[in-house]
């Protein structure tokens, strides 16, 4: 007998599952070129789910369902809410782009989008190794198909193949690590694994062996060095709307499983995984920032910038446990969460502008395509500039506070090494500032190649303006979101 609370904890997932199927079927009856009916149904579904998640999150209750298989806590609920909004925004930006590129002959963009969101939901709420793995597979399978949505486009198909092969390999890593953990601890349940490790009766070597594979799998999904090779190719090759679907919301889910696996499951091994994350993060900061300088393709540049930003997120994960003391953990993990959330917000707007400038037969993904955008459309140039300054971490954009909170977590640990790491991160973000500024330079200082003005449907204009304004407004009043992240993480650590 499954109790009522279990069902309540998965209502949003059930809605997504049912509506994903309904929309896929209903779409058969739609024959408008822009799939307006499907689009509206999708947005309504996502809107309902986002509201539902927000109400769960603000109730602040932690629910465990189905014999501890899934959990609905504040952190998960907020992340799911943000992920839903991110997918919604992605679909708004992506629809005109997809319609121009024969990607809307069927409603796959919408139904697969919903299924990938469902995958993220399962990842975020999974409290069991296998559930998390299932969610991850659901997300990535939907993503593989989405990348290949332009089936007659060679580049996109190549990207899909690469993504599939490497993604399958990474899933293999993760699953292998999980099976080692299962072998060592005798359980797949995250809480039981934690208890087993904490008892100190399991051989350390076995645990570390499993941990290495889990961290490698996670690193793959986050796209940090040296498991980053797929990111630039997939970002560049995938249709831009799909790039955003891969590069936006899933980062939230990847962050969630990192917290679930490493913190909730293996906090006693923190000293070990922190060292691994250290290598990953330093490598990402170096490679991400340096390689981005050389790019001429904006999507590829943003891909490398993602790598460096994920490096920053890992930096926050690293300062949680110092010499076995976990007092600063909440501070550190919430700084990472804040970083991820604001990063996704900024990414949405910057890709939104790329999508907006793309026309039929023209991708607008080279940096040079942005030449003189300020003369063609001051509004969108301003949105893009705000995003780029935010990514570069210049106040008063929200990206600055993300960097600030991570650096603060590092320095608060009081260790000389961590402070040195903060100085290093700061030096790397100076390099980062250079390539972001270069795009601003192209938009503001160069002469436009075409004089054509930029036109966009009303929904895109409104959402993009709000999105860009939010990057600035959250920079002026970042307090609320910071407190939200802090409370969510404190509650997660408390249970």
């Amino acid at each position: 007998m499954i109790d009522k609370l279990s069902w309540i904890s998965v209502y949003p997932e059930i809605i997504l599952l049912v509506m994903g199927c309904v929309i896929a079927l209903a779409d058969l009856a739609v024959n408008s070129a822009r799939r307006t009916a499907t689009y509206v149904m999708t947005l309504l579904t996502l809107g309902v789910v986002a509201c539902l998640q927000a109400s769960y999150a603000s109730s602040g209750v932690t629910l465990y369902g189905f014999g501890n298989m899934v959990v609905s806590d504040q952190m998960g609920d907020w992340l799911k809410c943000f992920a839903t909004v991110a997918v919604m925004v992605t679909l708004v930006y992506g629809r005109p782009y997809a319609a121009d590129r024969t990607m809307l002959r069927g409603g796959e963009l919408f139904s697969l989008g919903i299924f990938s969101l469902l995958g993220m939901f399962v990842m975020i709420s999974g409290n069991n190794f296998l559930v998390i793995y299932l969610g991850l597979e659901l997300l990535t399978l939907a993503s593989y198909a989405l990348v290949a949505l332009r089936r007659d486009n060679g580049v996109a198909t190549e990207a899909a193949m690469k993504y599939f092969v490497l993604g399958a390999l990474a899933s293999g890593f993760l699953l292998y690590g999980m099976s080692m953990m299962y072998g060592a601890t005798g359980s797949l349940d995250i809480n039981s694994v934690f208890k087993a490790i904490n008892s100190g009766q399991i051989r350390h070597q076995v645990l570390i062996f499993g941990l290495v594979f889990i961290v490698a799998g996670l690193a793959f999904k986050l796209g940090v060095v040296p498991f980053h090779m797929w990111i630039p190719d997939v970002y560049q090759g995938a249709p831009t709307a799909v790039t955003l679907l891969i590069g936006g919301a899933p980062k939230l889910a990847a962050f969630a499983i990192m917290i679930r696996l490493l913190v909730e499951g293996m906090l006693p091994l923190a000293l070990d995984w922190q060292q691994m994350l250290l290598v990953l993060s330093v490598g990402s900061l170096i490679i991400g920032n340096l390689a981005a300088i050389a790019q001429t393709n904006l999507k590829r540049m943003l891909a490398f910038s993602t790598i460096s930003h994920m490096g920053f997120v890992l930096l926050g994960m690293m300062s949680g446990v110092v010499n076995g003391n976990i007092n600063s953990a909440a501070n550190a993990y919430s700084s990472s969460m804040f970083y991820v959330v604001t990063y996704v917000l900024t990414t949405l707007a910057s890709f939104g502008v790329i999508l907006l400038l793309a026309r039929e037969g023209f991708e607008s993904e080279e940096i040079a395509d942005f030449a003189g955008l300020n003369q063609r459309s001051p509004l969108y140039a301003a949105v893009m500039a705000i995003c780029l300054f935010s990514l570069a971490g210049i106040p008063p954009m929200v990206g600055f506070y993300a960097k600030l909170s991570v650096l603060q977590a590092l320095i608060a640990s009081g260790q000389t090494f961590q402070i040195g790491l903060a100085v290093f991160a700061v030096a790397m973000s100076l390099i980062g500032a250079f390539f972001y500024l270069r795009v601003v330079k192209v938009m503001y200082f160069d002469q436009p190649i075409t004089a054509s003005t930029v036109s966009a449907p009303l929904d895109v204009r409104v959402v993009l303006s709000i999105n860009g304004a939010l990057v600035l407004i959250l920079g002026l009043v970042p307090g609320g979101l910071m407190v939200l992240c802090a409370n969510a993480v404190v509650q997660m650590l408390g249970t």
Partner: protein, 491 residues
């Protein structure tokens, strides 16, 4: 809403309105809105002068509300004798800049005016804030409008200049960010600058903090040898950009020394004063000589700015009343004089489109009215008694003599170089027979340019003849600061 908030947000709001509403086909309206915005922004700072109480070093017009509760960052504003004049100076220069850019800027007028208005609000914010993080936010945010101003309306090599400006100053201030967060942790979770002033710190920590702050402020001032960005940027920036850069932005760095380096790390400041004095003297003497051989007028004035700011840092690090007060007076006077110098070059550049000294000669024959102003400003730049330039330099030299005779001697001798390069440039550009047909066709200044010149000349003259209001305001604060710096914070 307090007066300081008003001073910060009025120009920013006008700037945002201009960015949002203005189009190039309504340039006329845009200019008037910008002018109204700048004048209103200046007017709202005047009640500060009325209400400022002399004889106390306490912060005045204090506003304090929580901004980011998570990190205990407060929206904490206030001015004392050290920062007070810079609020008014910034707002005043902003009015001058708007008038000076009136017809000169024809492309994207709304963005030009909007950028300057926002920049002015942000800079006032830097001078008013009493919270470390808020300071950093304002300090860094000023980079964005200045970067765009240089890059959009600058000269042929503007892109190099814009990047050099942004990255050079960002490099310095990122280390300061680490220092700020370190102080936050050290003080048990507070960004309150006044609290940091009282925080005991050991010697090594102080030295590290001192140099972390030095990285940001020395680049901004700029002190020798990190001054190299300034000439490049000045040459390429539009006239208004150069004027604001020299008049206000450089002062952000010098102000940072007084607000952060000296009071937070007093022991390190005293320990390393010899280095600061040495760098300042090199700036005054060596950069003065470098200025003399420049062929480009803007470069010459840029180097002269470095030399003049050398007097400011020299004054700060000899640790006596005269020196520090002299440094602050020099900051204010240099604000007026350097703005005037750059705007004068702008007047010539708008007509002949050359900044080469060799492209001119005998301008006095065709532009007598303008030359009179130019002569006056040149005299102020040399530090002639009766002009603003004299007061600060004289006070710093007196302070230096008090500290050490030879130090004062070296500083005083530098005045000769200042006179030499300024007057030599003046002679080559303005005096003599008409050099070429461009100069022959020159028209004397319009009434708009006349207004700009009169405003600045009046300020320079007033400050030179009657500096008492300026020195009175800062006296108590400077004395308190020096008392504080004299006390050791080593525990």
């Amino acid at each position: 809403m307090g007066l300081l908030s008003l001073a910060i947000w009025t120009p920013i709001c006008f700037g945002v309105v201009l960015l949002a509403l203005g189009r190039d086909d309504q340039a006329r309206t845009v200019r008037w809105v910008a002018l109204i915005g700048a004048v209103v922004s200046f007017l709202v700072t005047l009640p500060l002068y009325e209400g400022f109480k002399l004889g106390t070093a306490a912060m005045q017009f204090v506003e304090n509300t929580t901004w980011i509760s998570r990190f205990n960052v407060n929206y904490h504003l206030g001015v004392d004798g050290i920062s007070f004049w810079f609020v008014l100076l910034t707002a005043f220069i902003n009015v001058v800049i708007v008038i000076a850019g009136w017809e000169v800027i024809t492309r994207r007028v709304n963005q030009y005016m909007g950028a300057f208005l926002i920049l002015s609000g942000l800079m006032i914010g830097v001078f008013c804030t009493l919270d470390g993080m808020l300071f950093y936010v304002f300090f860094e945010a000023t980079l964005i409008p200045m970067y765009l101003i240089i890059g959009i309306w600058g000269g042929p090599n503007k892109i190099y200049a814009a990047f050099k400006f942004f990255l050079y100053t960002l490099l310095g201030s990122l280390l300061t960010l680490v220092a700020l967060i370190f102080l936050y942790t050290k003080s048990g979770g507070s960004f309150d600058i006044a609290l940091w002033h009282k925080l005991p710190l050991d010697g090594t920590t102080q030295t590290l903090l001192f140099f972390a702050f030095f990285a940001a402020f020395a680049v901004k001032v700029p002190m020798w040898p990190v001054h190299t960005w300034l000439p490049d940027v000045h040459v390429e920036a539009p006239t208004g950009g150069s004027a604001v850069l020299a008049a206000i932005m450089l002062k952000l760095g010098a102000y940072g020394f007084l607000r952060f380096s000296l009071p937070i790390a007093p022991d390190a400041a005293r320990e390393w004063a010899w280095l600061m004095i040495a760098l300042s003297l090199i700036a005054v003497i060596y950069v003065g000589l470098v200025a003399m051989v420049q062929k480009d007028m803007k470069k010459l004035v840029a180097y002269s700015s470095v030399a003049h700011m050398g007097f400011v840092t020299l004054g700060f690090f000899i640790f006596n009343d005269l020196g520090v007060a002299g440094g602050i007076v020099q900051m204010i006077s240099h604000g007026f004089v350097s703005a005037a110098m750059f705007l004068s070059i702008g007047v010539l550049y708008d007509r002949v489109h050359s900044r080469e000294i060799a492209a001119y000669g005998g301008v006095v024959n065709t532009m007598p009215k303008f030359t009179a102003f130019a002569l006056f400003f040149a005299m102020a730049n040399c530090g002639l008694p009766g002009t603003a330039g004299f007061v600060g330099e004289w006070m710093v030299i007196l302070g230096a003599v008090k500290a050490n005779f030879w130090l004062g001697f070296a500083a005083a001798s530098a005045l000769i170089f200042g006179a030499a390069y300024t007057l030599w440039m003046f002679k080559r550009v303005y005096l003599g027979p008409v050099a070429n047909k461009h100069v022959k066709e020159l028209l004397d200044i319009s009434s708009r340019e006349f207004l700009v010149m009169v405003l600045l000349a009046a300020a320079v003259l007033y400050m030179g003849v009657y500096p008492k209001p300026f020195t009175d305001v800062m006296q108590t604060s400077v004395t308190e600061l020096l008392k504080h710096v004299a006390l050791s914070k080593l525990n």
